[in-house]
Amino acid sequence: MQSFTYERAASAEQAAAAVAARPDAKFISGGTNLLDLMKLDIERPAHLVDISRLPLDRIEETAEGGLRVGAQVRNSDLAADPRVRSRYPMLTQALLAGASGQIRNKASTSGNLLQRTRCPYFYDRNMPCNKREPGSGCAALQGFNRMHAVLGASKACIAVHPSDMAVAMAGLDARIETISPGGETRTIPIGDFHQLPEAMPHVETVLGHGEMIAAVTLPPPPAGRQVYRKVRDRASYAFALVSVAAIVEKSGDRIRSARIAMGGVAAKPWRATEAERTLAGAAASDGAFTDAAEAALAGAVGHGGNDFKIPLAKRTMRHTLAAAVESA
């Protein structure tokens, strides 16, 4: 771990400006991911701008009937918010499926979106990793890749995004509000926020340097029952092998619409749009769920150790869709 300087930001604009002023500066909030990475010399910022005390910790109603979640709302608080629990139950389920109580108490909403992959080769400075050291290669491709991506990966990187929260937010069409060093704001649909690795796996989001997340807006809750299902190697405190967030709206015996996002399969929360199209208007049946799962994983590619994720994701999706329909 390298020495660094530290400042506590007084305002969002000042925080963005402080980071923008130095190429080696980073924001820090809960620090549950960044500090670990700094201790291992994987992240080496020379300056930290602490944004954890900025007044961005409120959850507010929006005019359109949704919620605006401040970037500094803690994962525990977001999961426990009665409005989130009743209107976005899938988000609460996803949050509570992630990490541990202690970590959720510290972790912020924006930090959760920006957490970095858990690929063990990324975590070891002696190993090739294009994400950590562009151009050095990908050790996971031919290595231990049980946890790795089956969708949207590239020859440069097969890492996955580890967040549960982001998967539920992807299913809910959340929008990410940012503030730039100049004070300008912009809104980014969550589907456009994370980037697939392609040739540049070290670039993980569309954020510019110094651009800071101010809030995440949840549109009004879509009709239909919401379910988040996480499959993992132990009962708690493990990253998803695969996860499925599903919202299914029924009309009689038919499915009017469905929204599906997957975790543990790609470098970003993976919106299964093909599966959604398959389901729209279909009879709510085992056959439709199976077809949707096949469509969702149609382009999936395994790398040996993670081949099982493809059938696992299909089976999990089929069952999760059925669970969403059961009491829809």
Partner: protein, 762 residues
């Protein structure tokens, strides 16, 4: 429990009944209030902090190491590499001449330009703060001449060789009768090859040391299971007499066998403290522990059973190939238990090692039985399945009347009673013998069982006990309490023997100035140290009685009855009695002292004349999700016959801890060795999964009443590791019963059962 044999010849001095009671840990309040000081927490004036830099390659030599920038970094006091480290002996041959020398040999660090395994220390930075040392370590530039290494056990089976002996000095092979012919002729056969992965202990407290020199005397505050081993190993490495090394380790945050010998934190702290002439602290990071603090080696195990149609075994073969280090041998005694467990006229067990370019494996909770029974007791389940026989009935039909290979009687053996009692309590009759048939909703339910066996070891130990004029007792021995409850049971043993309340007893452990014991390891701590203390208390009582009878100042002067007892803080001789404190004040105002010892078990007549093991039966129920293959525990039961139980609470804690290890071994624990780079890939606790609270179900533990008078004066037997033995196999057998899928490659993760699970209609 009343069905089984109750104790015989119970010594009269145990009548107060303190032994066995489930009293709380004596050290519990200190631990939960932060009052227990662990090695790294010790504060010494002027202490400096070390940080170890590990090798980035697994095999090769250091071609160039540039420490200039690190040396210039703020607050740095010393950068030590092989170029400037104090001279140490060479590491020496891969095999030591005798078994104990493995524990006491020199283990030099930063002694060579050679890199023998990934993350082996190549430099130590010492600075005024931990942070400064760690930062400076990042400035060291190392260039390696890397050499191709061997990291693939299955790929290098052709290199397998037979070591001279296994761990703990057992014969490498055993052979009785003609297994091959018996197997060829057997009407029912099982030939199953199982694989068990690398595993790591991961005690909560990392390996950590504070070393301080005073003149030519070295004091080491560390986290050690066996003080005498540390003392001897450090003395050999530093080439100083052991008497000049003091080891202090009163509290230990878990060891599981990974703290039986001194590792690089200890050696480097001692060397750096010597160079700098000030105290130095070093802790391994969690990541460093994976390469530098021992592991259980990856193994391939072939288990073969030949049986007649009634399920009587005609042949047993257990062959083990284990990954090993190329520079120091460690052969886990994986098939040794198979020499005693079931009867069969033709039998063979063999251990082979495949040398790889990795660090040496070490003793990990239940060495031998933990991986061995995982394979062997699953293969027994396969045999029961093949025969259409209940797994308990199969084991009963192969219950030996005496030790099948040694030909001597058992001291006590209650395996059948454990299985029967377990079956009754668990509702074993509800198990559907046809696998994959029991469903609750979208979950498949399965029951499994396995036997448990673990040898009873006794290590040489001495204890010192003193009683003062207020009848307050201090017992001292270099035993350790690694979280098992040593402080508590030793207190109970002394209180029981001397007829005093618990509050009058003070047990002091974890200092090499105290009499030497065998420490904690191999489940022998309680029996060894406990027997020594028991004998010390007996010697103390004899001394007191003699003085009480002979001293004219004694209220018991002249008493000559043969019956004497110590109870309720009184001494009674015949019809006369006196308060112990009053008596001591009158006859020996300075109090009394005595010592007691036990000899190493292997040297005693009783050990030669009897086969001594603890036994048990494990039961497990699992639920397997049909959609995802997720395996979750529903409940577990262990019924144990392990001699006299010294403290029902700490004993239960040991067993449920072991059962939790069983869950881990069966379902999740695995360290992945990268076959290209030779490093342990998942070297942290986020990626190396141990069971967490949510994975551990309701657990029931039952101890059959037992007193093994052949084992030791206490009648107790080794207990700590028994909980692991067979526990994983019971879980694995339950997974088979639930799914009909026999996974022979541990751990049983969901991907291994998923392809065979039925797709159930929605």
């Amino acid at each position: 429990m009343t069905e089984t044999k109750t104790s015989e010849n119970r010594p009269s001095e145990t009548h107060t009944g303190v032994i066995g009671r489930p009293i709380d840990r004596i050290d519990g309040p200190l631990k939960v209030t932060g009052g227990a000081t662990y090695a790294y927490e010790n504060a010494l004036e002027g202490a400096a902090y070390g940080y170890i830099l590990g090798a980035a390659v697994a095999k090769g030599r250091i071609a160039e190491i540039d420490t200039a920038e690190a040396e210039r970094a703020p607050a740095v006091l010393l950068v030590m590499t092989h170029r400037n480290a104090p001279a140490q002996p060479d590491f020496g041959p891969a095999v030591t001449p005798t078994v104990p020398e493995v524990f006491t040999r020199a283990r030099p660090a930063l002694n060579s330009e050679r890199v023998r395994y990934y993350d082996e220390p190549v430099a130590l930075v010492v600075a005024e703060t931990f942070e400064a040392a760690r930062a400076a370590a990042g400035f060291i530039k190392v260039r390696y001449d890397e050499e191709p290494g061997l990291y693939d056990l299955p790929g290098h089976m052709a290199d397998a060789y037979a070591p001279k002996r296994t761990n703990a000095g057992f014969e490498t092979d055993s052979m009785i009768g003609d297994f091959e012919s018996a197997f060829a002729a057997a009407p029912v056969k099982i030939d199953a090859t199982y694989r068990t992965p690398f595993e790591h202990h991961n005690p909560m407290e990392p390996h950590a040391t504070l070393a301080a020199w005073s003149g030519n005397e070295l004091t080491i505050h560390t986290s050690a299971q066996t003080l005498a081993n540390f003392r001897a190993g450090i003395a050999s490495t530093l080439r100083i007499p052991p008497e000049r090394v003091r080891i202090v380790s009163p509290f230990i945050g878990g060891g599981f066998g990974s703290k039986l010998i001194a590792h690089s934190d200890t050696i480097l702290a001692a060397l750096a403290a010597q160079v700098l002439q000030r105290p130095v602290k070093i802790a391994l990071t969690r990541q460093q522990m994976f390469a530098n603090a021992g592991h259980r080696a990856e193994m391939i195990q072939q288990v073969r059973f030949g049986a007649d149609a009634d399920g009587r075994l005609t042949g047993i073969a257990h062959d083990v190939w284990s990954a090993a280090s190329s520079f120091e041998e460690y052969c886990e005694q994986t098939a040794v238990f198979a020499r005693s467990l079931y009867v069969a006229p033709n039998r063979v067990t063999r251990h082979r090692l495949v040398p790889l370019d990795i660090n040496r494996g070490e003793w990990m909770r239940s060495p031998g039985e933990a991986p061995g029974m995982l394979a062997f007791e699953c293969a027994m389940d396969e045999l029961a399945d093949r025969l259409g026989l209940d797994p308990i009935e199969l084991r009963i039909r192969n219950e030996p009347a005496q030790d099948p290979e040694r030909g001597v009687p058992f001291s006590t053996r209650n395996l059948v009673a454990c299985m029967k009692e377990g079956a009754r309590r668990f509702g074993w009759e509800r198990r559907n013998p046809t696998p994959g048939r029991t469903r609750e909703g979208r979950k498949l339910i399965g029951y499994g069982m396995a036997a448990a066996i673990r040898p009873n070891y006794i290590g040489a130990a001495t204890a010192q006990v003193a009683v003062d004029r207020d009848a307050r007792v201090t017992a001292r021995l270099d035993m350790t309490d690694i979280g098992t409850g040593s402080y508590t049971i030793l207190t109970q043993i002394a209180a029981d023997s001397l007829g005093l309340p618990i509050s009058s007893i003070k047990v002091e452990l974890g200092d090499s100035r105290f009499p030497r014991t065998a420490g904690s390891g191999g489940s022998w701590g309680a029996a060894s140290a406990g027997s020594a203390l028991h004998n010390a208390c007996n010697a103390l009582k004899q001394r007191i009685l003699k003085a009480a009878q002979s001293s004219e100042a004694s209220p018991l002067h002249g008493a000559s009855a043969t019956e004497a007892s110590f109870a309720n803080s009184e001494v009674r001789i015949g019809q006369r009695s006196a308060g112990l404190a009053d008596l001591i004040r009158r006859i020996a105002p300075d109090g009394f002292e005595a010592e007691g010892s036990v000899a190493a078990g292997a040297t005693t007549e009783s050990y030669k004349a009897y086969s001594q093991h603890s036994y048990g039966a494990h039961f497990a129920e699992v639920a397997v999700d049909c959609d995802t293959g997720e395996i979750r525990m529903r409940r577990m039961l262990a019924v144990m016959g392990a001699g006299r139980i010294l403290n029902a609470k700490t004993a239960r804690s040991q067993i449920i801890g072991g059962m939790t290890w069983g869950i881990g071994a069966a379902l999740m624990e695995q360290t992945v060795l990268d076959r290209r780079y030779g490093h342990f890939v998942n070297h942290d606790l986020a990626e190396y999964h141990v069971p967490i609270n949510g994975d551990v179900p309701e657990m029931e533990v039952v101890f059959l009443e037992e007193h093994d008078d052949k084992a030791n004066p206490l009648g107790a037997k080794g207990l700590g590791e028994l909980g692991v033995c067979g526990a994983g196999a019971a879980v694995a057998n339950a997974v088979y019963n639930a799914t009909g899928v026999r996974v022979r490659e541990f751990p049983i993760t969901l991907d291994k059962v998923l392809p065979a699970l039925p797709v159930i209609a929605i």
